[in-house]
Amino acid sequence: MKAKIIVTPKKAVLDPQGKTVQNALAQMGYQGIGAVHVGKYLEIELPAGDKESWRQQLEQACHKFLSNPVIEDYHLEIE
């Protein structure tokens, strides 16, 4: 089993990396590029077991440690 976690900056938070990548894409000639958000991707290997129990534990870990709720949102998937 694997957990896949995507952490992105909250919309209200200044994201200079995203803005810079957006500008670079536009300069490369990609037309009509909208806002870019640069985040993090974490992949966590899990032993086989109760998926729901892992989900609860990792939700807690995401909230307490893997993301900072002041500035980031996260999306957790277990497969």
């Binding site: 209200a12 200044l14 200079p16 990396q17 893997l66 900072n68 002041v70 500035i71």
Partner: protein, 236 residues
């Protein structure tokens, strides 16, 4: 007074903080490794700058789980003064001891330069000796010093006089140009509601004696000493 100066893997301003407190101010100070558990016998804690745990995940995110940080939580809850400088400020925010967060500089550049710091609240353990109107010329050295908090948090900080320092120009004006990292409201340093925990991005320890080009930062440490001395006097 007896200062504890914390050391995490990749702290790099610990010796400078020790020098400022011990050699410049003449107080006793000791370095405490992050695996230590006790702050018994210490009057104040300084969390110095650096790149604790390589800034992995987020700045300060891993350091906050160090054993010594549990002791800092208890120390702060009992009213003990804690000052976080640069990475120390980031750690205090991650630990929830200070509100908000420090994010990547607006310019994406690592900024290493002297700035002017305007003190906006003089009634705190770390600002009480700074004369009204005095601008502090102190260096910054960070890539992630842009202070962010939600509007409601900012308003609460303002109402509680918890904003201690702001970035300003040489005339003391809080302009956008004088803001080196994009911090909301030009915020450079704040304290908690009970005022005993404070953090700032600039480095007062690197501006604590004339040979370093500025001795303005010394006022912050002198404030802390003065506050501790008056606390002792009151208790007597």
């Amino acid at each position: 007074m007896n200062f504890a100066i914390l050391q995490f893997p990749a702290s790099n301003c610990d010796q400078d903080a020790l020098h400022a407190v011990k050699d410049v101010l003449g107080h006793s100070a000791r370095l405490l490794w992050h695996k230590d558990h006790s702050l018994a016998g210490f009057d104040a804690v300084i969390i110095p700058g650096g790149f604790s745990y390589g800034d992995y995940l987020r700045t300060g995110a891993i350091a906050r789980f160090s054993p010594i940080m549990q002791a800092v939580q208890a120390f702060a809850a009992q009213g003990g003064p804690v000052l976080g400088i640069c990475n120390g400020f980031q750690i205090l925010c991650e630990a929830g001891l200070l509100p908000g967060a420090l994010i990547r500089n607006r310019s994406l550049q690592f900024r290493c330069e002297h700035i002017f710091l305007k003190t906006v609240a003089h009634d705190s353990p770390v600002t009480n000796q700074i004369p009204e109107g005095k601008l502090l010329r102190v260096p910054i050295a960070h890539g992630e010093g842009c202070y962010f908090a939600e509007d409601a948090t900012l308003e609460k900080l303002k109402a509680g006089r918890q904003i201690l320092w702001k970035y300003a120009n040489a005339d003391g004006e809080e302009t956008d140009q004088a803001n080196p990292n994009g911090s909301l409201w030009n915020i450079a340093g704040i304290c908690n509601e009970t005022r005993n925990v404070a953090g700032l991005m600039p480095h007062p320890e690197r501006a604590s004696e004339p040979v370093l080009g500025s001795a303005d930062g010394r006022l912050i440490f002198e404030s802390l000493v003065s506050w501790l001395q008056s606390k002792v006097a009151k208790a007597a």
